[in-house]
């Protein structure tokens, strides 16, 4: 029996959950290795589709979810290397598996790009956004972790959580900014106006401003701990709304 790259990615992301659980009980370190395998298949899946479609595979919901998962895995793996965030692996594994299960219900056919999307800006704009989304997702998971273990962990560890999640946001914010600006430059090339107050644009700006608020409230008022945690959660919900909600609830130029 032969598996498609999509199925292989899903299988390994799913297996990573089991191994992360086993790791906790048996004190081993296999989960990450399985997740890396999943990440490799996820990369191959994107690469293969890019080759088949002869365009960046970033044009519909299916492709977006696959690429989003890839960025989340990448962000986790890099920051795991740096800060040893392995305890998050279980949650990352669950999120990635759910993403792929969701994607399996979506239309995976390769469609040709509409004229407006046929531009080099597509790859730059969307990839920088997703890299940002990946980092901010990991930061969100960290914040949730912080929230639910607030009374159980020592202040030292909580402080570390806070610091990591801040680092992730500031790094993610950089990519969010590049995504926003390249979007404006592209809009000026394609629609003849760098800002049109289209709902997706406006919500992208709202998300950017919430994270901006988060960064400044920490810097200006030393707002650490719970307040900055809630801001981080708020930023992420706004991000999710920009990504999914706007398409379903508000109409505008970005509906493709």
């Amino acid at each position: 029996m032969r598996f498609s790259l999509f199925e292989l990615t899903l299988i390994f992301y799913f297996l990573s959950i089991i191994f992360y659980l086993l790791d906790i009980f048996k004190n081993k370190k296999i989960g990450d290795k399985i997740l890396i395998l999943g990440f490799i298949f996820n990369s191959l899946l994107i690469f293969e589709r890019w080759r088949l479609a002869q365009r960046p595979p970033l044009a519909n919901m299916y492709e977006a979810i696959v690429f989003f998962s890839w960025s989340v895995a990448l962000a986790y793996l890099i920051f795991d290397l740096k800060f040893k965030l392995r305890f998050l692996g279980l949650f990352v594994g669950i999120l990635l598996s759910l993403n792929f299960v969701f994607a399996s219900f979506l239309d995976s056919e390769i469609y040709s790009l509409v004229p407006a999307l046929r531009s080099n800006w597509l790859a730059i704009h969307v990839i920088s956004y997703f890299l940002g989304y990946g980092l901010l997702t990991i930061s969100f998971i960290l914040s949730l972790f912080y929230l639910f273990s607030f009374n159980k962990l020592s202040l030292d560890i909580l402080k570390k959580f806070d610091f990591w999640s801040y680092q992730l946001v500031s790094f993610g914010f950089l990519f969010l900014t590049i995504g926003l600006l390249t979007g404006a430059v592209w809009a000026n090339v394609c629609w003849g106006s760098y800002w049109s107050w289209d709902p997706k644009e406006t919500w992208a700006l709202i998300t950017w401003l919430i994270y901006l608020f988060y960064l400044h409230s920490r810097y200006l008022e030393g707002g650490k701990g719970k307040r900055s945690l809630y801001l981080n959660l708020l930023g992420f919900f706004s991000l999710l709304f920009t990504f999914f909600g706007v398409n379903f609830l508000l109409s505008g130029l970005h509906s493709y």
Binding site: P115, R118, L181, N188, W197, H216
Partner: protein
């Protein structure tokens, strides 16, 4: 002095940011820029009066919103001055200046931008464009030499199959040269060829007359264990095959790849020819011409958006500064 201290306080920055965020959210909850009738129909007259009073129907262009942004920029300016004095992180100072640059640029856009429309037929010469109903001169001539719509060659064809003896319909999304079996029967078929503009020339040869899908057709090979037949199926006409048990219908979906307006600009002795596409506008003398619309019923007409925006270069400079500043900030932090 006290006012100045208030205006330069970081606390004000946070408050203003929060207000801006809330106003932006409000603007996406209430649809912007509809006509009065549409609002009244949707929300009723009383709510519409409230909207109108607070200018909620054109929030992002209202004076209040402008004032809010102005306060924000001023606060930012004072904070930046203070940072400059204390010679803090250069990257951060650049990012803050960049936001002021971007906001100033957008103010220039809001005041000075000319944005209009130019509809033109092939062979026609135009020297002006329209903003609303008003005409504005261009100071040069523009001629449309050619307008074409470019199409994708489809790689999936939608085919309906009808079997007369069983009175059953099937639907296929078929790729070129791939074999498809019709379930529960001996029939199978494959697409041998696709032609977008089917035409039979004087010598009786089948040719593709143009690159426009004016008469799309596919050549099918229909097989049973005993027989093999080749048949052209057309999207536009449907000749019946009375002596055959199987009938095919070709549901053709055209896929537009791009719109191309080939224009010539003439100013005195100077002549410039360029093709405008959706993602490739034409820039000339501060004017930018964008491919904006077309009319399927008038294939020799194109709609160009014309814009002259002295604010954009400023905004663009701000973008560059913002990115440089952010990277500078990271370089310094070295996470």
């Amino acid at each position: 002095m006290r006012l100045l201290r208030l205006l330069s306080s970081p606390r004000l920055t946070l408050i203003l940011l929060a207000i801006i965020i809330l106003v932006l959210i409000l603007g996406t909850l209430i649809p912007q820029g509809l006509s009065s009738q549409e609002y009244i129909k949707k929300y009723g007259i009383n709510l519409f009066r409230i909207f109108n009073f607070f200018k909620l129907t054109n929030l992002y262009h209202s004076f209040c919103f402008f004032f809010l942004l102005f306060l924000f920029a001023f606060n930012l300016f004072l904070c930046t001055l203070r940072n400059l004095k204390s010679r803090k992180n250069t990257g951060l100072i650049i990012t803050h200046i960049s936001i002021i640059v971007i906001l100033s640029g957008s103010l220039i856009t809001a005041i000075f931008r000319k944005k209009g429309f130019l509809g033109i037929y092939e062979g026609q010469i135009k020297e002006d464009f329209l903003i609303g109903e008003k005409s504005f001169p261009l100071n040069f001539k523009i001629i449309l030499e050619d307008f074409t719509v470019e199409y994708y060659e489809p790689d999936i064809h939608q085919l309906y199959v009808y079997l007369k003896d069983k009175d059953k319909k099937f639907f296929f999304k078929a790729k070129n040269l791939e074999n498809y079996k019709i379930p529960g029967t001996d029939y199978s078929f494959r697409i041998l060829k696709y032609i977008c503009d089917f035409f039979i020339d004087e010598s009786g040869k089948i040719i593709n007359k143009s690159f426009q899908p004016k008469n799309p057709a596919v050549l099918l090979e229909i097989k049973t264990p005993q027989t093999k037949e080749e048949r052209w199926i057309f999207a536009k006409e449907r000749p019946r095959h009375k002596d055959s048990n199987i009938e095919f219908f070709y549901d053709f979906r055209e896929l537009i790849k791009d719109y191309k307006s080939k224009v010539k600009i003439i100013e005195g002795e100077k002549v410039l020819t360029k093709t405008i596409r959706v993602n490739e506008p034409l820039k000339y003398k501060g004017y930018i011409f964008y491919q904006a619309s077309y009319n399927p019923e008038e294939p020799d007409w194109t709609g160009l958006q014309v814009s002259k925006d002295p604010g954009y270069p400023v905004v663009f400079l701000g973008f560059i500064l913002l990115v440089i500043g952010l990277f500078g900030n990271f370089y310094k932090k070295k996470i």
